[in-house]
Amino acid sequence: MSVLLFMIPLALLLGLVGLAAFIWSLKSGQYEDLEGAANRILLDDEARSDKDNAV
């Protein structure tokens, strides 16, 4: 059963990493414009990429 001492913290840690990623994406506003994000898939991003990189 000693494997549990290793596996359970590991499972919790992985979960926490996922949660942290979710909170980060929420805080950085990635859920604010779902409609727009769905539309942006269709856009060519080459035209804007050089300017975006410059920022």
């Binding site: 359970i8 926490l16 979710f22 929420l26 859920y31 414009d33 727009g36 804007r48």
Partner: protein, 744 residues
């Protein structure tokens, strides 16, 4: 008059048409915010963005300008954020280039209400995410607990698993349960109860009892159930929030059309001032193409005014000195001077806004089906749990701890997961389906209200009809050359009848010289050195010709006999069939219009409508609706003009065509795209189906409760059974809601 004078006049008019827009753009500079790094920031509202290509052309139009660091359109909020370096007056260029790209621009004034909504949604998502994380991790442990018997696992391991579950569950409940706890406490403090009260009690009791069990090395802990419950409820709550978020905020949007700038004449000096600072008696100059900022009286100049905002009338009307003008109407003809009669807060437009605010308050009284269910649900479930406790403790002589445990499993298993999902899932799916058919539904409960209507009020112009005049004179009855000349001349004007003529005539246009517009009369030009005229009967028509009921313009070329063209605002092609379909559903259909009785009745007869109320002002329409409501009628309003806006806002539910004014679109619950009035019937059908699904969902969750409650009271419910029952019933409700895609 010489030729040069005429052409100069034309150039002059053209220039006037452009200048006011540029002048207005200078106002945007005052909205620019500058960061300490010398980066400027401006937010504007964009109208007319519909698709991915729009995003690209809007952002592209701004990105191409020098110094721009970032331009990003929030498509859902229609807000464009621009960041740039350099002079602040670049703002003017941005606005101009966006306008040239064909989009409408408005200053963005962050409304606190909208910011609060966005914050609330974020909060719900955060709670949902945390609950999801906790549920996954607790389930991981619970699976081991469910599938392994106590003998193989051992007491110490089981307690260890319970403790870890508690460690994850308790902070999660405290964090993610807040939306429910808050609303439950609020409801209780007003002496009422809502769905959140049994939820909060159930969750808290489950956790408390499980903690107690864990401390005493007990067999069952319900941490998994409690967190799972919270997760499903949060899914329901977030969907519900999505469905309701775009509640109508028409009045505030309308007021924002009243913000802006006006040109006033102050002791002979011409100045641009904010509309709010205009006082009665101020002399205002209104250029062609500009809106009248306040109600007033024309003191100098003749012009045509587009009053469609107030009256719904599609044709501009001639105005002369001494005539009244209303705020929000548009000066179509020549520049005029107006003496203000009212301040901006006291205009007719502001009155309409007040009517709409009043309407909004009466709207808020609607009690949603889910809330009514909760009012019944709470006392029943809590009584059952209390009875179960009393039964086991006093009748069967059980110790109080296991008796309380049984009572709390009753609360857990009856906790309204499926009930909470019943409404929002069906509505969110229905809204998605309707979106595909070109129907934009702004709030989920609009569907609920739409399913209950028994009366339909229809506006005429722009709703029952297409909203713009169409030529009805057959082309065979006009001499082709004359028609070509007429259309060539008409192409120089923005008058609705001229536009209709151009649309009707598909051939090549002829070059004309010295085109000149006489306000309120018509257009004239030279062709082949001879005079060509297009305009009213009095100006260039044959005054002895027999009168015709339709709108008319006359073409006269040189000394030929003038020829009349007739126009009518045509019914939408499917108006009659739509009204027949609505009547077949036993709905009372009424036509309400500000137009003349004779026109309205003729139109109603074509559409198969018997009940007609003509010559109605916005206030009369509003009172007509109030009367019907007092009789207990549930009303759907279909309309498109500002004059309909108060009624749209006051009706139980309202639909506007996509061609309607922004104000009307904002006031309506549902907007349909395209020219088919059939959409109104379609929306009603979908709403009825959705309502049927919602009721089925309720039935499903009640059946589930009827099965589960006896088990819980008998004390047979284990954590595994609770988890299965809860997720099972929720999935069943979700699956049932998906049937909206197949039912016709």
């Amino acid at each position: 008059m010489g030729n040069t004078a005429l052409s100069e006049n034309l150039v002059d008019r053209h220039a006037i048409g452009i200048t006011p827009a540029n002048d207005d753009d200078s106002g945007y500079e005052s909205l620019v915010k500058t960061s300490p790094q010398q980066e400027h920031h401006l937010d504007v509202l964009i109208h007319g963005a519909h698709c991915a290509a729009c995003i690209q052309s809007i952002e592209g139009a701004v990105m191409r300008q020098p110094g721009v660091l970032q331009a990003r359109l929030n498509f859902s909020a229609r807000r464009l954020s621009i960041t740039w370096q350099g002079p602040t007056d670049l703002a003017r260029n941005f606005v101009r280039s966006l306008r040239e790209a064909g989009y409408g621009i408005q200053p963005y004034t962050p409304s606190t209400e909208r910011a609060a909504l966005a914050k609330e949604e974020r909060f719900l998502l955060l709670c949902l995410g945390v609950a999801g994380f906790a549920m996954g991790n607790i389930m991981l442990l619970s699976f081991a607990l469910w599938t392994t018997s106590q003998e193989t696992m051992g007491l110490a391991t089981r307690d260890f698993f319970h403790w870890i579950s508690a460690l994850i569950a308790l902070p999660t409940i405290l964090f993610s349960g807040r939306p429910f706890f808050r609303s439950a406490v609020q409801a209780l403090s007003y002496g009422r109860t809502n769905m959140d009260v049994p939820i909060s009690v159930g969750v808290v009791l489950a956790c408390g009892m499980s903690l107690f069990e864990t401390l005493n090395h007990g067999e069952h802990a319900y941490f998994d159930s409690a967190v799972m419950l919270l997760f499903f409820l949060l899914v329901g709550r977030t969907l519900d929030f999505r469905a309701r978020q775009n509640a109508r905020s028409a009045a505030t949007d309308l007021l924002s059309t009243l913000t802006g700038f006006a040109t006033i004449i102050d002791n002979g000096h011409i100045r641009r001032v904010a509309i709010q600072s205009i006082t009665p008696g101020t002399r205002i100059r209104v250029a062609a193409g500009e809106k009248f900022p306040v109600d007033g009286r024309i003191s100098d100049g003749h012009t045509d005014i587009d009053t469609s905002l107030i009256t719904g009338e599609s044709l501009p009307r001639a105005h002369k000195p001494g005539d009244l003008v209303y705020a929000g109407t548009i000066n179509m003809g020549a520049p005029v001077q107006v003496t203000a009669l009212q301040t901006a807060e006291n205009t007719l437009l502001a009155d309409i806004v007040r009517l709409m605010e009043k309407a909004g308050q009466s709207q808020a009284l609607y009690v949603r089906l889910a809330d009514r269910a909760a009012q019944l649900y709470t006392p029943v479930v809590h009584t059952l749990a209390a009875l179960a406790f009393v039964f086991w403790w006093s009748v069967m002589g059980m110790a109080w701890q296991p008796a309380l445990m049984i009572a709390s499993t009753v609360l857990i298993i009856t906790c309204p997961c499926a009930l909470a999902l019943a409404v929002p899932v069906a509505q969110v799916l229905a809204i998605g389906e309707m979106m595909k058919k070109g129907l934009l539904v702004k709030t989920g409960d609009a569907l609920e209200r739409l399913a209950q209507i028994d009366t339909v009020l229809m506006d005429k112009t722009g709703t029952l009809t297409l909203g713009k005049p169409q030529m009805i004179t057959p082309s065979e009855s006009i001499e082709p050359k004359l028609l070509q000349l007429g259309a060539s001349l008409a192409s120089h004007s923005t008058h609705p009848l001229s536009r209709a003529l151009c649309e009707f005539y598909q051939g090549p246009l002829l070059p004309l010289e010295d085109v000149c517009e006489s306000s309120g009369q018509g257009l004239s030009a030279n062709y082949d050195g001879k005079l060509l005229q297009l305009g009213s009967r009095a100006w260039c028509g044959d005054s002895n010709a027999p009168a015709h009921s339709a709108l008319e313009i006359w073409i006269r070329f040189s000394d030929q006999t003038p020829c009349a063209l007739h126009f009518e605002d045509m019914l939408r092609p499917d108006a009659a069939s739509t009204i027949a379909a609505l009547k077949k559903k036993k709905l009372r259909v009424v036509l309400l219009t500000g137009d003349r009785r004779s026109t309205a009745e003729a139109m109603a007869a074509c559409a198969g409508l018997q009940e007609v109320h003509a010559d109605m002002t916005p206030a009369q329409k509003y009172h007509f609706l109030e009367n019907l409501r007092a009789q207990g009628r549930k009303i759907l309003m279909v309309g498109d003009g500002l004059n309909d806006a108060p009624v749209l806002a006051a009706a139980d539910v309202s639909i506007a065509p996509g061609t309607a004014l922004d104000v009307a679109q904002n006031a309506a619950d549902i907007v349909f795209m395209g020219t088919h009035l059939q959409s109104v019937d379609q929306a009603h059908t979908t709403a009825c189906i959705t309502q049927k699904l919602v009721k089925e969902n309720f039935a499903l969750s009640i059946i589930y409760n009827i099965l589960a409650i006896p088990l819980a009271i008998a004390g047979y419910v284990t954590p595994l059974l609770a988890a299965l029952a809860m997720s099972g019933s929720s999935l069943l409700v979700i699956a049932n809601s998906f049937r909206i895609r197949w039912i016709r």
